[in-house]
């Protein structure tokens, strides 16, 4: 009983069936992994993200230059083999500074996403699963938080708590919570009304089991995709806050601080701002691409 518009889907499903010889869960996971790895864009994005995270953890593997060693003679050098990203106004190696700055930014982002995941998932599951007045209350609270743009909420928190990497991370994390809570709740609500959940309930399963075995595993997908997307958004937010001057104290430099510091030399040495910014943009682009591809293949 296909319609004209659905015929492609059934045709694909039909032809795919005999091709798959192995069956069951592990075979299916392997098939998903194969489908992902066949996409060159996905591989490039994965490799770049892996490189950035690894270089943030152990920058010494990728650069021998000291990010804080000044060399006035070598100041404002353009990119070359010796200095991949050139040098800044004090002669410090910019590539090394970007990699070391990555550690701060990635830590802050991970903390922010951790806060958002715990808070957002908790609220979303509570709201969607319990329903009733709890749901109404949580969702009104989320509406209020959504009304305040994320970065402004973060600015208010930074004003109150003070500057530095950790306050920025907390501020950004709190700003992401409402979006997470909403998505989680919507997914939980969707899965909760599916026939297999009703089947489990009428099969006598208690709510706890239904939540853990059916609702959570099946609502996790979109939430995980959102987490990766928000990781990118959080990197930008953290960078924006440090660009505005609310991040770590010098000489330590997060990515936003590097871009901001290079601004004064934009006319003569544009790479000082533009290369770190390109680095950040490519990372976020790679993260977004990973999230979207996983979403597409998983569908």
């Amino acid at each position: 009983m296909t319609t004209l518009t659905q015929s492609r889907v059934t045709a694909a499903a039909r032809a795919a069936a005999p091709a798959r010889t192995a069956t069951g869960r592990s075979a299916r996971r392997r098939a998903t992994a194969r489908a992902l790895l066949r996409r060159p864009g996905f591989l490039i994005a994965l490799a770049f993200t892996g490189f950035v995270i690894l270089s943030a953890l152990v920058p010494a593997w990728f650069t021998s230059a000291d990010p804080y060693a000044t060399a006035p003679a070598d100041k404002l050098l353009p990119p070359s083999a010796a200095h991949l990203f050139g040098t800044d106004e004090l002669g410090r190696d910019l590539f090394s500074r970007v990699l070391h700055g990555g550690a701060l930014t990635i830590q802050a982002t991970a903390l922010a996403i951790g806060i958002a995941l715990v808070g957002g998932l908790g609220l979303g599951v509570l709201s969607g699963f319990v329903g009733g007045w709890v749901d109404a209350l949580v969702m009104r609270a989320v509406d209020v938080l959504l009304a305040i743009p994320g970065l402004l909420l973060a600015l208010a928190i930074v004003t109150a708590v003070g500057f530095g990497t950790v306050p920025v991370a907390v501020a950004v994390g709190v700003g992401i919570i409402p979006g997470f809570a909403r998505t989680t709740r919507a997914e939980v609500l969707r899965v909760k009304t599916l026939p297999y959940v009703e089947a489990a309930r009428t099969g006598g399963a208690p709510w706890g089991r239904v939540l853990l075995r059916h609702v959570l595993p099946n609502s996790w997908g979109p939430v995980a995709v959102l987490a990766v997307l928000d990781f990118g958004a959080a990197i930008i937010a953290v960078a924006a806050l440090s660009f505005l001057g609310f991040g770590a104290e010098p000489p330590a430099a997060e990515w936003g601080t590097l871009i901001s510091a290079g601004r004064n030399y934009l006319v003569t040495s544009p790479w000082l701002s533009l290369l770190p910014g390109l680095f950040v943009g490519l990372l976020v682009l790679a993260l977004n691409h990973l999230a979207r591809t996983v979403e597409e293949v998983g569908r």
Partner: protein
């Protein structure tokens, strides 16, 4: 007379897959009604898409020819194809509920199609009303001003028919026409469409899974399976002297063509009893009104009705998911009228549900073995090993091979999934299975297999069924007794033989008349 449309050895392939249509030839003469009959995956829909030039981006015509109105359009460009759409070939889509643009008035959508013929704006309005009138829409002036969501499904289908005919085409393609509607509405609209094309001399191509429905209306029938034409010829020949085993199977699966063989009604003790069951919904009023239903041990009670009849609510009451406003519900003599979730829980071992949609009824992350054993886990029956043994035994019982146990639902067909769902429902050895339209989402020949399975299980296990369906034809094969609901009231109930041969109520007669295939047999 030249054909309106002619397909010669047509082959259509979706990117990186085996051909979906392999060497299909057929022709449609002016004014003829041709039916292409096949189950899902037969290629019937792809064939129609290719004819309309509406193949999805991944689909390519890889062989053969398509001629429309004497013109070779096999590889014609978008401009040529657009000129044919609407004016030479019109389309009546499958689902009337989603076939119309929700944000535009009926008149606007129709006028747009009429004006493509070059009709000036002023006379277009007159033609729109004329088209609606011809399609059997009452009060065309009112309907033209309305938005699609303000119309019933039947009216929307009539508007879609008017839309298909707005370009005065020479051929109308009807894709699974009206299968989304109630059976009686379905019958009236199809009859009207056939009358309309016959008087105007337009050819009609019906794409359907339902051989009986095709037999009632088509001049000729083409039966398709796996992308090929397996049998074709005049309706009387195909239905009366089928040459192919596949055609014979389709006929056997259509009760209207095969004739009714109801199961005898021998009395047995009552298991589940609803007495004067009444349910009020806040806002939508009384959905169930003083209904008496009795399920007997080892017997099947079929509850039949169209949408809004209250049959689903009755099922939810029997499942303990819906409280009664008035009346009583008893299970084995135990009064459960005021029982809450706690009192119901132990009873769930005795009453189980099989859901309508096998595609959503299984958790996509659970293997078949896990799904089947889940009720055992919920009730802490046995240990890991005995549960695995029980799952294997159940899978065997519902006629699936043992290697199914490790599979995921995505790797199973609709019929296989429904067997798994039945196995799960049987895991706790319940006394009653509540079956909510258990075959309506399946292909006809698969339907017959599932219904046979249900009958076998009942014979072997002595389980009782409450079988809810909108389709009297399906019910005929499994029910001992039939109850007909209409707008929340019980209008007729009795032994299946009596209800089918001597219906007392007007609604029952209408439902019986709507069972396809009866007029073909009479012919």
């Amino acid at each position: 007379m030249t054909a309106v449309a002619q397909l010669t050895d047509l082959e259509v392939t979706y990117r990186r897959h085996a051909p979906a249509v392999r060497g299909v030839s057929l022709s449609i003469a002016p004014g003829e009604v041709l039916a292409v009959v096949g189950e899902s995956g037969s290629g019937k829909t792809t064939t129609a898409s290719a004819l309309l030039g509406l193949l999805p981006a991944a689909g390519r015509i890889t062989g053969g020819r398509i001629e429309v109105d004497g013109l070779d359009v096999t590889h014609a460009g978008e401009r040529v194809r657009r000129g044919l759409r609407g004016r030479v070939i019109g389309l009546v889509p499958q689902d009337p509920m989603v076939g119309l643009d929700p944000t535009r008035r009926v008149a606007g959508q129709l006028a747009e199609a009429v004006r493509l013929r070059g009709v000036p704006r002023r006379t277009a309005q007159v033609e729109v009303l004329q088209l609606l009138h011809e399609a059997g829409v009452d009060d065309p002036e009112l309907r033209a001003r309305q938005y699609p969501h303000e119309l019933s499904g039947g009216l929307r289908q009539r508007v879609l028919i008017a839309l298909a005919l707005a370009g005065r085409p020479r051929l109308v393609v009807a894709d699974e026409p009206t299968s989304a509607l109630d059976v009686t509405v379905q019958r009236r609209i199809l009859d009207h469409l056939v009358d309309q094309v016959r008087t105007s001399g337009t050819a009609l191509l019906i794409i359907t899974h339902d051989l009986a429905m095709a037999a009632d209306r088509a001049d000729r029938i083409v039966v398709m399976q796996d992308g090929r034409v397996v049998e074709h010829g005049p309706t009387a020949t195909v239905v009366g002297q089928p040459q192919e085993a596949y055609t014979r199977r389709l006929i056997a699966a259509a009760p209207g063509l095969r004739g009714f063989e109801p199961r005898p009604d021998e009395p047995a003790p009552d298991v589940l009893r609803l007495t004067g069951a009444t349910v009020d919904f806040p806002g939508s009023g009384r959905v169930l009104d003083g209904v008496d239903l009795t399920v007997q041990r080892g017997r099947t009670l079929a509850v039949v009705g169209e949408s809004g009849s209250g049959k689903t609510t009755a099922l939810r009451v029997a499942l303990g998911l819906q409280r009664l406003t008035a009346g009583r519900i008893e299970l084995d003599g135990q009064d459960l009228t005021d029982a809450g979730w706690k009192q119901w829980r132990p009873l769930r071992r005795r009453v189980q549900l099989v859901h309508q949609n096998p595609f959503a009824a299984l958790d996509p992350r659970f293997t078949v073995a896990e799904s089947v054993a889940e009720p055992l886990v919920s009730f802490r029956v046995g240990d890991r090993r005995t549960r695995a043994t029980r799952a294997a035994e159940l899978i065997d019982r519902v006629g699936l091979p043992a290697d199914t146990l490790s599979r995921l639902p995505a790797e199973l067909s609709g019929g296989q999934r429904q067997r798994v769902a039945i196995a799960r429902a049987l895991a706790l050895s319940p006394e009653i299975l509540l079956l909510d339209e258990p075959v309506s989402a399946l292909d006809v020949s698969v339907q017959a297999q599932i219904l046979d399975l249900l009958a076998d299980l009942q014979r072997e296990l002595g389980v009782s069924y409450l079988f809810v369906s909108h389709d009297l034809a399906v019910v005929a094969q499994v029910a001992h007794r039939v109850a007909v609901l209409h707008r929340g009231r019980l209008v007729e109930s009795g032994a299946t033989t009596q209800v089918f041969t001597d219906p007392r109520h007007e609604r029952t007669r209408e439902l019986l008349d709507a069972v396809p295939g009866r007029s073909a047999v009479a012919r």
